[in-house]
Symmetry: C2
Subunit: 392 residues, 2 copies
Amino acid sequence: MENFVFNTPTKVIFGKGAENQVGALIKAQNCKKVLLHYGSGSAKRSGLLDRITASLQAQGIDFVELGGVVPNPRLSLVYEGVALCKKEGVDFILAVGGGSVIDSAKAIGYGVASGGDVWDFYNFKREATACLPVASVLTIAAAGSEMSDASVITNEDGWIKRGYSNELSRPVFAIMNPELTMTLPAYQTASGCVDIMMHTMERYFNKSDNMELTDGISEVILRTVKKNVAILMQEPENYNARAEVMWAGSLSHNGLTECGTDGGDWATHKLEHELGGLFDIAHGAGLAAIWSSWARYVYRERPQRFAQFAVNVMGIAPGGDTDKTALAGIAAMEDFYHSIDMPTRVSEMGITLTDAQIEEMAEKCYTSAQGPLGVVKPLEKADMIAIYSAAR
Amino acid sequence: MENFVFNTPTKVIFGKGAENQVGALIKAQNCKKVLLHYGSGSAKRSGLLDRITASLQAQGIDFVELGGVVPNPRLSLVYEGVALCKKEGVDFILAVGGGSVIDSAKAIGYGVASGGDVWDFYNFKREATACLPVASVLTIAAAGSEMSDASVITNEDGWIKRGYSNELSRPVFAIMNPELTMTLPAYQTASGCVDIMMHTMERYFNKSDNMELTDGISEVILRTVKKNVAILMQEPENYNARAEVMWAGSLSHNGLTECGTDGGDWATHKLEHELGGLFDIAHGAGLAAIWSSWARYVYRERPQRFAQFAVNVMGIAPGGDTDKTALAGIAAMEDFYHSIDMPTRVSEMGITLTDAQIEEMAEKCYTSAQGPLGVVKPLEKADMIAIYSAAR
């Protein structure tokens, strides 16, 4: 078992009508001016933004707006946000949306408070020294960014997608009303649930002696999401299922699922980042398209672990041959992904990967990893090419 | 499913040698003077206090000491601590010990920062308005006070034991090195594990629609503690088992096990508080002595819930008659308590309860509850007498 630090200062306000508390919560922060940061459509169309601005105005809170965040949030908008915050004297950022908006808010927060070129933090040049306080009204259960220290930004110059983690960016509060996620299209709901499961699985498939308590919690999160996303494919307005998935999204990525472990593998995420940089796909769908190819490529390094996953998460009968059980678990995961209309190969997203594209992604991924990628089986560039090819 | 707030700001530093970071952690708090608060023996004998004072001195941190906290921590020492802190200008309290020391530290923190008679908060007279920052080096896995908003103090004037919960008292950080718990006597280890399990079970046995994710996490915590305390009865220096139990103690009581629920029943805890006020017994042992009598008295109000507990925690075969399964789970819990030398009746602690004592405890308990106690079956005074009598 590994030593660990568990640090989840984000205050979660969870449930029906929670968004109506946003004005009072920000008021308590004693900030001068707020950046209201959001995406490109649904928060405005649904009337959520109007309710939030009304809540801010009722508390006499001064704010400026910056919309337009897109999935795989762009560095150019981050630069725009940094400039706007400096000009307007913004000292608090409220993200209204999903992980992309929150990630963009964190990047703006670093840029304003740490100074210099914000891309430096994502490009391994230096560490952030400060971040503006960030909070969110969450509208998509997926990324877990509402409680995490992580953010992912895409630099359009070369379409480089990079993640950066720093405790400074843990949000102050997260407002989570499952009702706000009810109108999400099925594809986005399913893609979000894959992301939640993968945040748990990236940590679950590790190389350390494990902590039973962490393993058990991870398995509960995975079973709960698996069960409830299936319900949501039939009943998108099932409140309890939306709530289970939404809370699972936060717990999967707030640190709870890595206590006592080595932090996990993360190869699937990094391989998907290159795919998501090159093609504008839903992050969760990209993860689903790659995971089983990664899993079959590496499972022999920890067959017992993959067998435990098969039995405790996928419901494979225990007691059989370890390798067979492990492989049955991977196949069952593919069946599950297909059952919620998620791909298990890149081609299922309508993308025909060329050898040159695979070479380019592997090269970028290896550079981004700054050496062999992952811990279950540290991947060299040739391994990445093999996995991308299998996932083609 | 109920709306909820999840707020766990306490930073946990977990693992071998974690206590050596205490000086640096306090230094970062920019406080003027620290109260070093501890118990009456083991932390001093083991050399832990010497290492902590060395760590404080190495950082040039000014501190005063107050030892002498006993199990069921006393109001008189809290008063002494409040006076000392005011005289010395203390603005940060470091508790070195278990739940009793941390609870005493929280009470002192309220007394200094909120002013007036600190007993007022425990006696329903008023709410605290502030609390000095509190942190701990934990030496016993049991109370969960290291991350919780709760504290329990005993007023020697009438031997009244009362709990008070307020978010203001959530500790700033908790240093948790499982090695520090290895020298605990088996009885204290077992008693602590009962407390951990009961913190989870008090919330698990509730009256609301539940959250599957919370149920699953609670069941994992219970199974993990049950398994690992049995290991510790044979191998008290098993690091991994100590670590599983220690982390379970925090998760059981930091809010995670009540997300989406009504907060739980808590009757067993309140009934034990009266027993612990009258007789100086280990809190966990007192809980074990009462729980099954409470459970048999109330299970018919939620037989399905008790049956779920029987199957998912106690390993009773599913599918049978609900009431029989529920009762088999309660009996299995009694067997488990006996297997770790915990009592399931008060007499097993060498105490012969008189009718007058039962009457007195029920009267105090009813007064303390300010009305019917618990949610599974709200207990009137006559119900309390029946449960105490069954637990005799």
